[in-house]
């Protein structure tokens, strides 16, 4: 959910861009984190865990915990919380340890 009105802050956002999550078209703002764009679109599950395939989302949002590892533009283990969103990005849930797709 994007914050509409804030008593203290004004949020400067980049250009509106389209990206893909699991092949589905979504919109976000260039330069914001992929995690923020996904959450604004109501997506909370970013990956399935290594051994037990449990759903996982973000936790720390500053690149420390790796809970948000995703497959972004073919790169596995990419931390969605510190990866800036770009036009046309292909974002996918990571399953397990992640495979390099070539």
């Amino acid at each position: 959910m994007r914050i509409k009105e804030h008593p203290i802050l004004k949020f400067k956002k980049g250009r509106k861009v389209e990206f893909y999550f699991e092949g589905k078209k979504m919109t976000g703002y260039e330069g914001e984190s992929v995690a923020a764009a996904l959450l604004a679109n109501g997506v909370k599950v970013f990956r399935l865990s290594k051994r037990l395939n449990r759903p996982r989302g973000f936790f720390c949002a500053i690149g420390r915990c790796a809970s948000c590892n995703m497959l972004i533009d073919g790169q596995p283990n990419t931390r969605a919380c510190i990866t800036p969103l770009r036009e046309g990005m292909d974002v996918r849930k990571q399953e397990g340890r992640g495979r390099i797709e070539r």
Binding site: H6, P7, L39, K44, F58, C60, S67
Partner: protein, 638 residues
């Protein structure tokens, strides 16, 4: 590359260290992981408490800008979006950007890497929707996105209380705050702010499970007995879509461990910290430490410790600059630092630092948090002659912006700034400047002679939904009781993004009415207790989230005789994932300590290795220099 002073971490501690070292004439490089300088400050929308010398009364986001400007003015070389991934023998700092790895040979290194959040173990703690308070703050205050709509906050320290308030400011609902201890850890003024918004703070309660399949749909809350054990039949469920964890911070010390600094477990400082002296120097000559990474405290103390580290590092290089009396500045910073720590809230830090052999010479304040000063008003109040300020700040916290805000000299703090402020009502004109200035939102205006039957109350207000004159509001007390209906009489704007909303209430509520609720805010604090089914046997939860290791697996191995973190790690892989143990180490050491009946300080943390953050191998391949044999090269392999 060669450099005189390298500062790692661009929070308030690191920025101040860099500023001072440069001011003394050293050539300084400041390395910061994030794209912007500021550390914790960039997400703090509230006015900071603390000393006005350390920018108290200014919002965190603005302090970040002030310091970053000063960093620039002092000619510090700033490398943002750059991570220090290792410290190696020969004073070498390995740094990575998204594409490149390089090494800086530093004459002095100052580590000011801040802290990371403590984990909490409960069923389904890995479910999407269970978030760290810092993470929620980053998304909400930096990115403008709320990761949920209805939050349960775990932890009533200052962070839990402040983030709860910020969530409501951003438009979310806060169901309740749960706190395992029998008292609120944070400042009472922050708790009162929340209670006035109707949010209950449940002491001796905790979250025992997150509910939901794909993401959080509810939380199971339970009461704890005096030993901290869950009282089984006290469990109840609430609906929420997010559970926010704010159960304390641990110093981020991985680089210091690698550098071979002598580490100690000091619970008062938040966990493992590098031993250091009063100059902030660690046991490794040339390496200094400052801020939360040297013990969890405040931004104000981080700034001063940073300044001290910066000066001492520069002086040890025989730096001096005409026109800057570094020795004198050092003395001044030391004094300010001990003043900040002289109150009851500084006691933990004081005791922690004393265990390093650092001495505090200042007269200390009584150790009771709440001041017994009953007579907060120095003379009888002429309350019927227009509005008069009422200060409801009864704890000894290091904070003083109210004193300077009063042009009429009506507010003063006697002695140490940790003492509570006193008001001289005869001097008070009811101008409201102190209401605007108080970081704790703890000053109000009261006019008991407003009308025949009503008193007028003016309260500080920082929400987006502003009531209009004539609107009816539900009036609340600082204990959280809904008292009566009130009618808004006037709304005063200010430049500081804080308003004073005035409303009339029946006279008998004049000493209680301190806040109000609007329909848009009234959902926070409302919840229905749901029964939870007693499913036996499913008490297990994941200790290590990276490698999916259950608590039961760890306990079974400990019972089988594996008694150190490193042994457990080798067998189960817990702590070997990408977070390098940040989400499991503390929980596992706790279990070890409990099961073996030994203190945390006698347990060894696991080894931290370079790189301290996940780094693609191609980044290392980009390193142009031929690595020299530094004698420590084996530590560089991964």
């Amino acid at each position: 590359m060669k450099e005189e002073v390298v500062v790692i971490g661009g929070g308030p501690g690191g920025m101040c260290a860099a500023i001072e070292a440069a001011r003394c004439g050293a050539s300084v490089t400041l390395i910061e992981d994030k794209p912007v300088l500021g550390g914790q400050l960039v997400k703090q929308t509230h006015m900071f408490f603390g000393s006005k010398d350390e920018f108290a009364g200014v919002r965190g986001i603005d302090i970040a800008k002030i310091l970053a400007d000063e960093v620039e003015r002092q000619g510090v070389k700033v490398l943002t979006s750059t991570t220090a991934t290792g410290i190696f023998d020969g004073n070498i700092v390995g740094v990575t950007t998204e594409e490149r790895y390089s090494r800086i040979v530093a004459e002095r290194i100052i580590v000011a890497t801040g802290a990371y959040e403590n984990p909490l173990g409960f069923i389904n703690r890995d479910l999407p929707g269970v978030y760290g308070a810092g993470g929620v703050q980053t998304l909400m205050n930096v990115e403008g996105v709320l990761p949920g709509e209805r939050f349960v906050m775990v932890g009533a320290g200052n962070i839990g209380l402040i983030v709860s308030y910020q969530l409501i400011q951003a438009g979310a609902e806060v169901v309740c705050v749960v706190e395992a201890l029998e008292r609120i850890g944070g400042y009472e003024v922050h708790a009162a702010k929340l209670r006035r918004l109707g949010v209950p703070i449940l002491l001796r309660h905790t979250v025992v499970a997150a509910l939901g399949k794909e993401s959080v749909e509810g939380a199971v809350i339970a009461q704890l007995d005096e030993k901290g054990r869950v009282i089984d039949d006290s469990k109840f469920g609430v609906t929420c879509d997010a559970i926010c964890i704010a159960v304390g911070l641990s110093p981020l010390v991985e680089l210091l461990v690698q550098a071979g600094c002598k580490m100690m477990y000091v619970s008062e400082l938040g966990g493992y910290v590098a031993w250091h002296d009063e100059n902030q120097r660690t046991s490794v000559e040339n390496i200094y430490v400052a801020g939360d990474s040297s013990g969890i405290e405040e931004a104000s103390t981080a700034m001063l410790a940073g300044r001290i580290a910066g000066i001492c590092a520069a002086l040890s290089l025989k730096k001096e600059r005409r026109g800057y009396d570094a020795e004198e500045a050092l003395k001044n910073y030391r004094e300010r630092l001990s003043f900040l720590r002289a109150g009851p809230f500084g006691e933990k830090a004081r005791r922690g630092k004393e265990s390093f052999g650092i001495q505090f010479s200042l007269p200390l304040l009584p150790s009771e948090r709440t001041s017994s000063k009953k007579k907060r008003h120095l003379t009888a109040k002429p309350f019927h002659k227009g509005p008069v300020a009422v200060i409801e700040c009864n704890e000894r916290i290091p904070c003083n912006p109210c004193v300077d805000s009063c042009r009429f000299g009506a507010i003063r703090i006697e002695g140490n700034m940790n003492e509570v402020p006193l008001l001289e009502p005869l001097l008070c004109r009811g101008c409201g400047e102190c209401v605007i200035a108080c970081p704790g939102l703890a000053i109000f205006l009261v006019d008991k002679g407003f009308s025949e039957s009503e008193a007028e109350i003016g309260v500080p207000y920082e929400m987006a939904d502003v009531p209009k004159v004539g609107d009816k509001v539900m009036v609340t007390s600082s204990e959280g009781d809904v008292l009566c209906e009130g009618r808004v009489t006037r709304v005063r704007d200010s430049k500081k993004k804080r308003r004073i909303v005035f409303f009339g209430v029946p006279k008998r509520y004049a000493d209680k009415a301190r806040g109000f609720l609007l329909p848009s805010l009234a959902k926070s604090g409302r919840f229905v207790k749901m029964a939870v089914d007693k499913e036996g046997g499913k008490e297990d939860f994941l200790l290590c989230i990276c490698e999916d290791v259950w608590r039961s697996q760890v306990e079974a191995l400990i019972d089988a005789g594996y008694h150190s973190f490193d042994e457990l790690k080798r067998i189960l892989r817990c702590g070997m994932g990408a977070c390098q143990g940040k989400t499991c180490q503390r929980l596992i050491l706790n279990i070890l300590s409990r099961k073996l009946g030994v203190s945390m300080s006698s347990l060894r943390p696991h080894k931290a290795r370079s790189p301290v953050r996940p780094t693609p191998l191609e980044v290392f391949a980009s390193c142009e220099e031929v690595p020299q044999n530094t004698g420590g090269s084996k530590r560089e392999s991964h």
